[in-house]
């Protein structure tokens, strides 16, 4: 039992909403970084830092993989993509608990500010299927996120960071 049980309608509505949002933001020029002056910084979520282990190593993949954690990292103000931002990722997966060191790994963003890290399938724990991400190093303010999966069957999760200077 979840608060959110996806079905065909929710997917269609979500898809239409996303398409609409992309169209409006694209048309208004928000996707052009130089003009995106009003993007607000991503706030740390409650519980985001739970079971965080500082300094998790940069890895090519966490465990056996099969699930993709993806996202972007931009800076507040002009929304310019940040290259080389270190994002740490951990979750309760088919291969281990959140507290297990093997469930943790980090990756760096590319020149376009995107990151992608393969990891084991996230499974529901503590009542919700969720992941943890942290931006915890460098010249911007630390942010801890705890995004929910819309369905425990999802095989990817996309998370966007907007960072503000520390």
């Amino acid at each position: 039992m979840t608060r959110f049980t996806p079905n065909r309608r929710t997917f269609l509505v979500a898809g239409a909403a996303t398409a609409g949002a992309v169209l409006t933001t694209g048309a208004s020029g928000l996707l052009v970084p130089a003009r995106a002056k009003d993007i607000s910084p991503t706030q740390t979520m409650r519980g985001g830092a739970n079971n965080y282990i500082p300094g998790a190593p940069i890895v090519d993949r966490i465990g056996g993989g099969g699930f993709w954690m993806t996202g972007t990292v931009r800076r507040v103000g002009d929304g310019a993509p940040l290259e080389g931002a270190r994002i740490q990722i951990w979750a309760h997966t088919t291969e281990g608990h959140e507290r297990d060191e093997r469930s943790h790994g980090a990756t760096l963003t590319d020149a376009d500010g995107t990151f992608r890290l393969e990891m084991p399938q996230i499974v529901p724990a503590f009542g919700q299927a969720h992941g943890h991400l942290a931006y915890d190093s460098g010249s911007f303010k630390t942010v801890f996120l705890r995004p929910l999966m819309s369905s425990p069957n999802d095989t990817s999760l996309n998370v966007d960071f907007v960072l503000e200077p520390a």
Binding site: T2, R46, G48, N50, N51, H97, R99, F126
Partner: protein, 203 residues
């Protein structure tokens, strides 16, 4: 020779308890959980089933169990219920301390945690009231109103807590168990007219 009615009532109660426990005990999620996490989840499911048993005992609805004997069993089931809830929280604490600390401090991101924690404290208070009732010579009016009000919070909080969780219980069996526990609690509160002493005093 028990009557058909007795067989049906006991059979239904047995199923209402056994089916959710069996489904939770065979959930695919268990494959990715440590023993202590599995045990704490099952302790929570057990506690939920006892929330159905308690009002049935208090109201004397179970065939073959007299009101007097039912009350005695109600006390022991109450002790088991408190133990199960303590085991539930303790096991979750061992599994992920920060998540349980967040829940107990009402700062958890998961909406179901607060309902569970409120139900837990109401359960402890209801049990404490029962424990101190004779020692402190608590008047019947206070006792019955207090215990009834507290267990109403326990059942309502636990039902919302359970229904919001994506866990090992099957959705259908969980909903059925919650509905039965809720209905049984309402019935016994109405039948025993938990509030009459309050009204009589005012009249």
């Amino acid at each position: 020779m028990p009557s058909l009615r007795a067989i049906l009532i006991w059979g239904a109660l047995g199923l209402a308890i056994a089916v959710p426990l069996a489904i939770a005990a065979t959930s695919p999620l268990l494959a990715w959980r440590q023993p202590v996490y599995i045990a704490s989840g099952l302790a929570g499911v057990l506690a939920m089933t006892l929330l159905l048993v308690q009002p049935l005992l208090a109201g004397g609805y179970l065939p073959g169990v007299s009101m007097r004997r039912g009350r005695a069993v109600h006390r022991w089931v109450g002790v088991t219920l408190v133990t199960a809830v303590v085991a539930h929280v303790a096991g979750l604490w061992v599994t992920s301390p920060p998540d349980v600390i967040d829940a107990l401090l009402f700062r958890s991101p998961t909406p179901f945690s607060a309902w569970g924690v409120v139900a837990m404290w109401a359960l402890f208070a209801a049990a404490l009231l029962a424990l101190l009732r004779q020692r402190l010579h608590i008047r019947p009016r206070i006792w019955r109103l207090g215990h009834s009000a507290l267990v109403a919070v326990v059942v309502a909080g636990s039902v919302v807590h359970a229904m919001l969780i994506d866990g090992t219980m099957g959705t259908l069996s969980k909903a059925a168990l919650c509905a039965l526990a809720f209905a049984a609690t309402i019935k016994v509160l109405v039948d025993l007219r938990a509030w009459t002493l309050l009204i009589r005093r005012r009249a």
